[in-house]
């Protein structure tokens, strides 16, 4: 599965990042290309993934520190 879109969540806390991702995913379906999401270095990628539930498969999270 390739990534076509990127979403900048830098500067956002875990909760705001989840809100932004959920907003970006509105109307998207399984099987569509994943969205690449850049989260700030203070974010907890695991918690974000957990809070996205089944939608987590539609994004690829990248932490700013690991760039």
């Amino acid at each position: 599965m390739h990534v076509t879109r990127n979403l900048d969540c830098s500067g956002l806390s875990n909760a705001s990042a989840v809100l932004r991702i959920k907003q970006a995913l509105v109307g998207s379906k399984d099987g569509e290309p994943r969205i690449g999401v850049l989260v700030g270095e203070n974010c907890d990628v695991e918690r974000i993934t957990g809070s996205l539930g089944s939608a987590a498969g539609r994004v690829r999270l990248m932490s700013a520190t690991r760039q």
Binding site: D8, S10, S13, S16, R20, K22, Q23, G50, S51
Partner: protein, 307 residues
């Protein structure tokens, strides 16, 4: 001290203090948001400074800042081109002796997106603004998000009041800015432009703190400004402003591990002691559309942090 409706100036009977012209397409200058903003402006140390107001409205703050805060020059613009003309008229009647210190940027100016506005911002010491922080209920993408959270739009919320753009902004248009997620896209866009075109300028901005001041501070820091709250007041939630945006935000985190980390700040009392989430507030509104709900309005000064 406020310049509105003669609350501080005692008019003499034969020569009553002039009142601002306030047509229905302009943000009401008697609104408590403006009172709070002016408290902050008084504390913002504007003496001798060049000030630019983005979204000038009636021009009430131009008159206030020139008259009571000692600013040396005042620039201003607005997305609604009628308002800069109105501001010019109001300043001429409220404070004629300061009219020469006012330099309007005319036409429809979104944020500072014209050459003239950018040239003036580059000469500005302090940018002031009170811009919309709620996505337009008619915005297609916002509607889709709201529907996904099963939040319905209250009756009449999609009707446009004459001063619609004083309260709402086109949400999807500002989606490149991360804090758009919580209704701050327009404000974040302004902070970024100021960093780019006036890297030494301070900002003084007025906010409805329904998402909490913590998040507002995060936005300042993420954009290179150190925030400080310089005025605050609990005000009544404007009966005409839809809160489904905030309800949808809470709804999107419902049942997740992060649910407790994002709850809006509404209050059931004017002292701001009985806190309500947006959900609670909407439930009360559904029972009684005239119920009194409150939230904080605060003025935040942002000082640029050296890169």
């Amino acid at each position: 001290m406020t310049i509105v409706a003669g609350t501080e100036t005692i008019p003499d009977q034969d020569n009553p203090a002039p009142k601002p012209e306030a047509p229905n397409y302009a943000f009401d200058p008697r609104d408590p948001w403006t009172q709070t903003f002016q408290k902050g402006l008084e504390r913002a140390e504007l003496q001798g400074k060049t000030v630019y107001e983005v979204g000038i409205g009636t021009g009430i703050n131009a008159a206030f800042v020139l008259r009571f805060c000692g600013a040396s020059a005042f620039y201003g613009s607005d997305l609604d081109p009628r308002l800069i003309e109105l501001a010019e008229r109001n300043l001429a009647s409220l404070s004629p002796e300061h009219a020469g210190q006012f330099q309007p940027v005319k036409g429809a100016v979104s944020l500072i997106d014209t050459d003239e506005a950018r040239a003036k911002i580059a000469k500005t010491d302090v940018v002031i603004a009170c811009l919309p922080q709620v996505g337009d209920p008619n915005d297609e993408r916002f509607s889709a998000f709201r529907e996904e959270q099963s939040v319905s739009l209250p009756e009449g919320a999609d009707e446009q009041a004459h001063d619609h753009i004083a309260h709402y902004y086109p949400w999807a248009m500002f989606d490149e800015y991360p804090f758009n997620a919580v209704g701050m896209g327009l404000n974040e866009a302004l902070l970024r432009r100021i960093r780019e075109h006036a890297p030494h300028a301070e900002v003084v901005m007025n906010f409805g703190a329904r998402i909490g001041t913590g998040l507002i501070f995060e936005m300042f820091r993420a954009n290179g400004f150190e925030p400080e709250k310089i005025a605050s007041q609990i005000v009544r939630q404007d009966a005409g402003t839809d809160i489904s945006f905030f309800v949808a935000l809470e709804g999107a985190l419902h049942g997740t591990d992060l649910e407790r980390e994002f709850k809006c700040y509404f209050f059931a009392d004017e002292d701001g002691k009985k806190r309500l989430s947006a959900h609670d507030a909407q439930r009360l509104l559904d029972q009684d559309p005239d119920v009194a709900l409150y939230h904080e309005v605060c003025v935040v000064r942002g000082r640029p942090v050296a890169e």
